[in-house]
């Protein structure tokens, strides 16, 4: 390319001007004529029978238009959608619910009734006037206790809280453990708690619904990551044909997986709009967000590793217990099974792996995908296992990683869990991180500090994760993306993507790739998304798939258009189409660059059509669907330093280094931003964050006063570097980066804390009280 390439450059984001001036439109900024406001009454109990609900007083409050309970929705509104219900119990209805609780409430925050009123103040006042007669039931919040036979049951008819037990035979793994020990090896064990987290996007959820009676068309604005899936499933839930439902996703203030979902409130607002004939808005408040939006993680993992004398792991035994919460949201049942179980091998060539899994209902909010979705848990298991082996054998954790890495020549590599990794070069990323961190220097510093009686720990985490869903068959709804690209008469390129970004900067990165492919400036490209009526079918932005899948669909559509434009240009140049090349926005005949027509001239000719050669279809528009043949596997190594105050137990993250490999980078500035944010969330889990319920199922962390969000002063500068190992799965060689930082960082912090304290393991989060107790052996 002769002109400055856009791809690979840290160009400023095209999204930003509207965001930094307050001119962006988020869901709560939408105001429609005649709009009413909805408020939700939620269960104050973790588990209770509903004896009766009296809504009369609420209905009579001036300004109230309607009050609805489960009774009103029966037979009218379908159940909250679940992407992949699993046998034996979930396919039979276990964990499924309508939008409002019926008969029982099963978690604190369970929606019981809604009020629709003139304004949000009145709607909220009216919820206080609804009288619900609850009969409290014993609650079960501990996921391991919930598996026991005497545990209170959420769904009595199933006789258990376990939705699906997966317990493969253990003979083979037991033999490998025995053989390894017999040959002088070691076995290490650990119980690891991956605590519940609140995704806590800064913008809470929100919905606006409008219904036009004459043609029964429903328009729903939602702060969502998945406009098309929301349309498809909501249409089914509301009993409307898909074409009568339109979903518009405005600016979205963060999602992190929490908006990769179809919640009760979308159907409730839609129902209220249909019944009242007025547009209805619902905006979640922050305490509702903590109580009723999905939580992430929530796994207990038992891990055992058998390693030989050199630290090479010969066998890994993992027991996964996944805390589903009270009901199923979109992916609740499959997170542990589809994303934790396949990835417990980490970056390592482990000959034998046994993995069991129980997915278990508890009286808590549903869990689902939160940044990393099952892979942070898998990585935590693998990295803790490696560190436990290193500790047992008194070896450097970096060396034990190196001994176990899958070697570059082994790719593509099928690990013992069955996952097939595309490409990787793990040792290079580790070495680069060790060098970036001056690892030897850090170990020396640690020795000196220890000699002075100070607690300093160094943690390493080498991760590999799974991105870019597909492939075909990996979800019941199809896991492709699509794009429609149109070159207008002026030469402006309109890109309609099925992806639905919410902070990732896809308007910028997609512009970069389109601009370079056509050789035109960024200003000539417009990227549009988030409206099911105007954008082609999409599956949404999640699982680090925006660029790898959505971007590839754009890339492929552009290739189709390039061919068409070459054909148009060949007639203009009176040359054979096979001799026409495109460079720097000009079409020219091979070998005679002086004979050329510009991109704009070709665009104009094709669109005006009068001078277009006979037989060529007018216009320049192409649609492409991309369904990847396999997933991509980004990787890297993170290293951090934690210092702990012996007297107070306070831990401080003092240094952080990350080397990540997400394949080819379209915009390094955006890639780094994703890593920064990912690290902050992963460190947040390790050091501060935890959703806490008491034994009765009361939520104790229902605001930012109680839930410790990481703050600016709690982080050092993150020092980043990268390696580039492209994937062959898509033509651009991109792997995905949205979740890498979160996946890589948590185990590094845990390792550093354990290292500082000189213990095998401490469960997160590393709050002062907990560490003080470890220091003082109490």
């Amino acid at each position: 390319m002769g002109i400055a390439a856009l791809v690979g450059s840290p160009i400023k984001r095209r999204e930003d001007p509207r965001l930094i001036t307050g001119q962006a439109t988020y869901i709560d900024d939408i105001k429609l004529v005649g709009m009413l406001h909805m408020a939700v009454l939620r269960s104050p109990y973790g588990h209770a029978r509903i004896n009766s609900i009296d809504v009369e007083a609420a209905r009579k409050l001036p300004g109230v238009h309607a009050v609805y309970t489960a009774k009103d929705l029966n037979g009218v509104v379908g159940k909250v959608p679940v992407a992949a219900p699993l046998p034996p119990h979930i396919t039979e209805g276990m964990g499924r619910r309508g939008p409002l609780a019926e008969g029982k409430v099963r978690f604190y925050g369970d929606p019981v009734a809604v009020v629709v009123a003139e304004d949000r103040y009145i709607a909220r006042d009216a919820t206080d006037l609804i009288e619900v007669d609850y009969e409290p039931l014993p609650a079960i919040t501990d996921v391991e206790k919930a598996m026991q036979p005497d545990a209170p049951l959420l769904y009595e008819e199933f006789g258990t809280n376990v939705g699906l037990p997966i317990h493969p035979p253990t003979e083979d793994i037991e033999k490998i453990f025995a053989d390894t020990v017999a040959n002088g090896g070691v076995v290490v064990k650990g119980r690891l708690v991956n605590q519940r987290l609140a995704p806590a996007a800064m913008e809470t959820r929100g919905v606006v619904a409008e219904f036009r009676k004459v043609d029964k068309s429903l328009t729903v604005w939602s702060s969502s990551q998945i406009p098309h899936l929301l349309r498809n499933y909501l249409a089914e839930q509301m009993g409307l044909p898909q074409h009568q439902v339109r979903v518009i996703v405005p600016e979205v203030g963060g999602g992190f997986g929490s908006k990769l979902n179809i919640y009760p409130e979308e159907a409730l607002a839609a129902y209220a709009a249909i019944k009242t004939g007025r547009p209805v808005k619902w905006i979640e408040d922050r305490s509702e967000n903590f109580a009723a939006t999905i939580h992430g993680r929530g796994q207990v993992n038992y891990v055992e590793a058998a390693a030989d004398k050199d630290g090479k792991i010969q066998g890994l035994k993992v027991q996964v217990i996944s805390d589903l919460g009270a009901y199923l949201q979109f992916f609740t049942d499959v997170i542990a099974i589809a994303f934790t179980m396949p990835m417990v091998s980490g970056c390592y060539d482990i000959p034998a792996i046994y993995c069991s899994c129980d997915i278990v209902f508890t009286n808590k909010a549903p869990t689902d995908a939160y940044r990393g979705a099952g892979r942070p848990e898998a990585t935590y298991v693998a990295e803790r296992a490696i560190d436990l082996v290193a500790r047992e054998l008194k070896k450097d954790p970096a060396d034990v990683r190196r001994v176990n890495f899958i070697k570059p020549e082994q790719f593509p590599h099928k690990v013992a869990t069955g996952a097939v990794y595309d490409t990787g070069n793990y040792a290079v990323a580790l070495d680069k991180a060790l060098e970036l961190a001056n690892y030897r220097g850090l170990r020396q510093e640690q020795e000196q500090k220890r000699a002075a009686g100070k607690l300093m720990g160094i943690g390493i985490s080498s991760y590999v994760e799974i991105c870019g869903l597909g492939p075909k068959g990996s979800a019941p709804f199809g896991t492709y993306e699509s794009a429609r690209v149109r070159v207008e008469q002026s030469g402006t390129v309109m890109v309609y993507t099925g992806s639905s970004p919410h902070g990732q900067g896809e308007e910028t990165t997609f512009t970069q790739l389109v601009g370079d492919e056509f050789g035109i400036p960024a200003e000539s490209v417009i990227v549009l998304h988030g409206d099911t009526d105007s954008t082609p079918e999409g599956r949404g932005t999640y699982g680090s798939r925006g660029t790898a899948v959505g971007g590839t669909a754009v890339f492929n559509a552009v290739q189709k258009l390039k061919e068409k434009m070459k054909l148009v240009a060949s007639h203009m140049l009176e040359a054979s189409v096979s001799d026409v090349e495109l460079e720097d926005g000009k079409f020219y005949v091979t070998g005679s660059p002086q004979k050329s027509v510009t991109f704009v001239e070709v665009a104009s000719t094709a669109n005006l059509s009068n001078t277009l050669a006979a037989g060529i279809e007018p216009g320049l528009e192409a649609t492409s669907f991309f369904e990847p043949s396999a997933c991509t596997f980004p990787f890297g190594t993170h290293i951090c330093v934690v210092e702990i105050d012996k007297d107070t137990g306070e831990a401080e993250l003092t240094k952080y280094y990350a080397v990540d490999d997400c394949g080819r980078q379209l915009n390094p500035m955006i890639v780094q931003g994703q890593i920064h944010g990912g690290i902050a969330q992963g460190v947040g889990q390790a050091m501060f964050e935890s959703v806490v319920y008491d034994d009765d199922g009361q939520l104790l962390t229902s605001s930012f006063m109680d839930y410790a969000m990481p703050m600016s002063f709690e982080f050092p500068q993150f020092e980043l570097d990268h390696t580039v190992t492209p994937t062959p799965i898509n033509p651009m060689g991109v792997k995905g980066v949205g979740e890498a930082g979160t996946i890589g960082s948590t185990p590094a912090v845990t390792a550093a804390v354990a290292d500082a304290l000189g213990v095998a393991h401490v469960d997160m989060p590393y709050l002062p009280e907990k560490l003080w107790k470890v220091i003082n052996h109490s």
Binding site: P17, L19, I20, Q23, A201, E203, H676, Q681, M705
Partner: protein, 168 residues
């Protein structure tokens, strides 16, 4: 329903006289009565700072104030930080240094940075991190926000900042 009160507030240089319920929060008044939706609500408990505006030149969290308490005051929101069509150096800094992703916390973050730089035109990294402790960002890990504020501070100190077109 409680009796409404009349308040007079100058917002972004424009005087407004409005009837409000005594319980109306300043942020709801700005967003719903005046349609200034650039100021966001992130938490309801004064932790997140998304609703930060300037009240008589000092930053306040507008979800923690009643509209009636702002009677007689001058309020500046993100919409009024720079003249129409141009960017304030802090806005420019956030754009230049990729100090935002989803953008939801950004207006509050920019107003809080304004307060910080007003009292400390040349802050260290630590001072910036401490100075923004009332504002939560879930996307950026704060690193590029720090850089954005540093960039703005430099521009504001040297006065080198020419108005930048928001349409760039």
């Amino acid at each position: 329903m409680t009796m409404k009160r009349t308040i007079t507030v100058t917002v972004n240089g424009q005087p407004h006289q409005s009837e409000v319920e005594p319980r109306t929060l300043l942020v709801h008044y700005l967003r719903e009565t005046l349609d200034l939706t650039g100021t966001h609500i992130g938490c309801d408990t004064s932790q997140c700072g998304a609703c930060t505006v300037l009240l008589n030149g000092e930053s306040v969290k507008s979800c923690t104030m009643l509209a009636v308490q702002a009677d007689g005051s001058e309020v500046t929101t993100i919409e009024g930080l720079a003249p129409e069509g141009s960017l304030h150096p802090i806005q420019e800094g956030f754009w230049e240094k990729h100090g935002l992703q989803c953008g939801f916390c950004t207006p509050g973050m920019i107003m809080a940075s304004h307060q910080l730089l007003k009292h400390n035109p040349n802050p260290t990294e630590t001072e910036i991190r401490k100075g923004l402790e009332g504002n939560i960002c879930r996307c950026t890990g704060y690193q590029n926000i720090v850089k954005a504020v540093q960039h703005a501070a430099e521009q504001m100190r040297t006065g080198a900042s020419e108005p930048v077109s928001a349409g760039d």
